[in-house]
Amino acid sequence: MSLLTPWAGFFLLVGVIPPLLLLYFLKLRRRTLPISSTMLWFSSTADLQANSPFQRLRRNLLLLLQLIILLLLILAIMQPRMEGPRGAGGRTVLLIDRSGSMTATDATASGDTRLERAIELAHEAIDRLHPGGLFTSGDGETMVIAFGETAEIIQPFTNSRAQLIAAIDRIEPTHGESHLGEALQLARVYSINTNPDNPDSPAVVPASLELFSDGRLSDLEDQVLRGETMTFHRLGEVDSVNLSVLQLAADRPWESPSAIEVFSSLGNFTTEDRRVDVQLSVDGVVRSIQEVEIPASVDGKPGRRSLVFAPFKLSRGAVIEVALLGEDALATDDTAVLVVPPPRQLKVALVSEDRQLMARLLGGFGLAKLELFTPAQWANREESDAWDVVVFDAVEPPSALQMPMLTLGSAPPSKELKVYGRQEESQVALQSKESHPVMQHVDVDSLFVQESESIQPSESVEVLLEGSRTPLIMAWDEGGASRLHVAFDPIQSTWPYEPGFVAFLYNTIDWLGHSNEALVQQQALPGSMFSFQVGAGNQDVTLVRPDGSTRSLTADANGLVTYGPVDLSGLHVLEYEEGESPGLRRSVLFPSIRESNIRPSESITLGQDSVVATTGEARAYVPLWPWAIGIAVLVLMLEWWIWSNRMGGSRLRSRTNPIGSS
């Protein structure tokens, strides 16, 4: 039992009880009455005391009863409440976790997934909340929210049992992380009651929340309960075994573009070292199987093992799959796929005023074709020529160029950039975004820029190098093509004399040239968006998801198809008809770092409230103050009855004379 306002009761206790005692004892002034003999009275009181161990209390019974009444009223003011079973009535929100960890098959002995068990429990909750009896259908309303990477209202508040059950049965698993915050926000928004008489002051009626989850929630630290009561139905077994492929990457070696090298990182989420066979497949054909030992997890962090497969020739595009052989509780994270594009040598156009530096550097990159243009030649080129990357070296690029473009020293006309002058004061590099593929292995510590453009980038522009005065390198997408702009002429800096400039230039050409292809080294995660360039003639396309289901999509006028947020990990294939052209493929990696740790939590903490998992029915706080008031009234009636009896209300039956002769 807990008290909502204990201090109010304490002050009342201190302020009321002592005066009552004082008044009571002051009141006890006995009137003196003469009597013929006290002999019988003495023996009567002695007899009464001998027969009642609580005689002293009984003598002050009225005081005792008054104290009980006061204490009960004070208790009512302190608003006691007790956790107890909750029945029908009120507003209830069923929060059903459908994240990746909920696909673990350890919910029941028969191998049901946690999500399937959660749906079963939600059915039972619906049965409890909407029993459907003639007198029990009640006024309770229930809402169903499924959440994972994002939250979705499956069914708004309703008292229709059929609608609720149908909605719950529609819930499908996803492979994203668990984010409870959005689900809580939705529940609160829908819990607002607007008074028709006073629409300006909507009243939020805290709903009762029933959470069906394994407790592996990634955003718990930011969440608090705002008056809601929460029941946590925990799913899953604490001793389940799970190993996973944490990461998968591939690269074509610099010196051998037709070969490929596959890297993977494996994780062990158990407390023991585990041996497992790892299978590498290329387009469904097994290429190798290795047995590796993955160390045990320590302090909740998974044990990691990196695995590098020997490079092999792969001169075409392929789907590479790494799978852990052997069964564990969560099969979804045992496999990771990667779409590797075919090796492709790039065609690059360099537009400059006859400057040699860039031409020499680009000539050393082994490109399929490098063609030099002056600005005039570029303006008069044949439109049918397609280039993988166009480099504008200190010349003003034209507008409306739908090709990946690197501009040096002169910003392209773009709505994303606002050039407001030139920065003639020298500056140095301040902060480099090393995680971006373009800036990897690029040392800018000794970069000194003498003169640069003053540019204000928009929010969608990613600044890759921040100078001490202005942004120096920035990247963005525009017109379906990537753009990268260097805000200074390299000649006006120390960069051409440093090895980092060569690495930057190579990274940039490589990134711009392959930016519309599937990522090889950095995979998408659930929750992200896909975009496919299918050409202007393909309006209706079909996306085949990893579980075999399909989604019909429509391309826009530019032939761009977008899909997302992605909810399943694995291989997504976009099928469309264009002769015999193969479909576009994207791979999505299971978010193993958070979701593969499937050990269910005993409790979850939201702010200061700790919600312990329950295996029984839903609990709720039952207010006890009406009981206290009711008992106080009963005691008051008893006290009145005793008082009236003492004051002469009770009459012993008079006996006719003679007496004592019976």
């Binding site: 003196t32 019988l40 004592g660 002769s661």
Partner: protein, 307 residues
């Protein structure tokens, strides 16, 4: 609601005994379960064998007996001489002892006033029937006697004496009973009017009058305030002060206490009745609110004190 324990006693002879009651008492007489020898011939049969016409018994003849009383019919049948014995009619000595201790001057109606009226009625019956009537008032100060009254003309004297009785010092029953028992020159009927709420107990005093051969009758007088204190206004938290001892008893009146008190009172009255019965004494407990005529004509006749 009456005031608890408050009541007035008689102040005039008319209060003691009205004319109507007097005329109805003329038909009553005191009845004794024993036959007493008196000083003069009276209207009452005596145990002493005498010369009345009432046959009493036979006894074998012995030398010197009056041959006039030999039953010759029995001699003719049995050839043995038997003498016929006859009862002798004698007067009756009626003694009425009134407790005047402070506990008697209490109650509504007042217990002492009730006893005065009852003593007046009983004494009047005795006087009317030519009995020798003696009255005693007793308390801690001693015994106040009025002895040897006979005949209706002594009624006023008796009434005046009764009106002059007032409550005295507490206690005194034992001493008074001893004094009355020793001072009784003849034997007869002794009626003790008291509440018997003696701090030292009633048995020591009554034991003096049980051995003397008197036909003793104890009339226990209790006020309604004692019989049913709740109905007479006793409630709440009170301090009861004993009129005899001055001792205080603090009580909180509850149904349970009243119930226990009633049980104790019944036990006390039953104890007195059993004590009297075992020793051949008559006993009657009576409330002061009972009608005097009902008491005399019904209760005392049923108890065998009056006829």
């Amino acid at each position: 609601m009456s005031r608890f324990g408050q009541g007035d006693g008689p102040t005039t002879i008319e209060d003691l005994m009205g004319g109507g009651l007097m005329s109805r008492l003329d038909r009553l007489d005191v009845l004794s379960r024993k036959i007493f020898s008196g000083k003069v011939h009276g209207e009452r049969r005596s145990r002493r064998r005498g010369q009345s016409v009432d046959f009493a018994d036979y006894r074998p003849y012995s030398a010197g007996d009056d041959l006039r009383f030999v039953d010759w019919n029995i001699y003719a049948r049995l050839e043995t001489l038997f003498l016929k014995l006859f009862l002798e009619e004698e007067d009756l000595s009626l003694a009425i002892a009134v407790d005047t201790s402070p506990s008697m001057d209490w109650g509504g109606p007042n217990k002492l006033g009730f006893c005065k009226r009852l003593a007046m009625s009983l004494g009047y019956i005795g006087l009317v029937n030519q009995h020798r009537v003696s009255l005693f008032g007793f308390d801690g100060d001693g015994v106040n006697p009025l002895t040897s009254l006979r005949g209706r003309r002594r009624t006023r004297e008796m009434a005046t004496w009764l009106l002059s009785l007032s409550a005295g010092a507490p206690g005194g029953m034992e001493e008074a009973m001893r004094s009355i028992a020793l001072g009784r020159r003849g034997r007869g009927v002794l009626i003790v009017l008291s509440d018997f709420l003696e701090p030292d107990g009633y048995d020591a005093g009554l034991r003096y009058v049980t051995g003397g051969g008197d036909d003793v009758f104890c009339i226990q007088v209790l006020a309604p305030d004692e019989l049913d204190p709740a109905s007479r206004g006793l409630s709440g938290d009170v301090r009861l002060r004993d009129m005899e001892t001055g001792e205080d008893c603090e009580i909180t009146v509850t149904p349970a206490l009243l119930r226990t008190y009633r049980e104790r009172l019944d036990a006390f009255c039953n104890g007195l009745r059993d004590w009297c019965t075992r020793r051949g004494l008559g006993h009657l407990a009576i409330g002061t609110d009972v009608d005097m005529e009902v008491l005399l004509v019904e209760y005392l006749r049923k108890q065998g004190l009056l006829q």
